[in-house]
Symmetry: C2
Subunit: 116 residues, 2 copies
């Protein structure tokens, strides 16, 4: 439950298009300063900082200690944990679907002698 | 932007452990009634219905028209879209990492003649 609470917090942090965009850029470009992150957005630095705090609190980014800059990078572990929830849930869905297909195949084979 | 706004809404809907648990069960078990969904939770039916409304509004579940029951099932398309965002972001991260590795390998090769 603790794990899913933490993952829920991670998903909640992703529930905003600006934060999704920030995370996509960090994934593609690596470490970026707050100024670099803010550049493409029509948004004040404090507003961007607030988004970064939410992402950091949710474990999705980590911040360096390079003086005043505090560059941000993707926290791969938490990102992978969130992605893993999707993989896991998708696998459960596919397993159910496979069982259903096998069941229908059995029914069809049995039905051949009767229905046609 | 519209697409990422809709995905952001999907992630926001997942930002709750109860809604994550409901979605996991629907993935594993297929169609369930509100009563069946509510059974494992110490929660009133109206509270569960509220969670289902959030999931439905975010496109993560669809509801049938079987009289009063309105059974729920996972909406695979939207689930796949959200999972796809993770796949896409992970791919961007891995591509950057590969570039970095290739760059370091080049530097190392070049460095052999000088540093050692």
């Amino acid at each position: 439950m603790q794990a899913s609470r933490s993952l829920a917090q991670t998903f909640a942090a992703l529930g905003d298009p600006t934060r999704m965009a920030i995370l996509s850029r960090l994934a593609a470009q690596g470490e970026l300063t707050v100024q670099e992150i803010a550049a493409p957005f029509a948004m004040s630095l404090p507003a961007v900082s607030q988004h970064l705090k939410v992402l950091e609190h949710a474990g999705l980014i980590a911040r360096g200690r390079d003086g005043q800059k505090r560059p941000c990078r993707l926290n791969v572990e938490q990102f992978a944990a969130a992605a893993g929830w999707f993989d896991h849930t998708r696998a459960a869905w596919e397993a159910r679907f496979d069982r259903l297909e096998r069941f229908l195949a059995t029914t069809e084979t049995k039905g051949d002698g009767h229905g046609r």
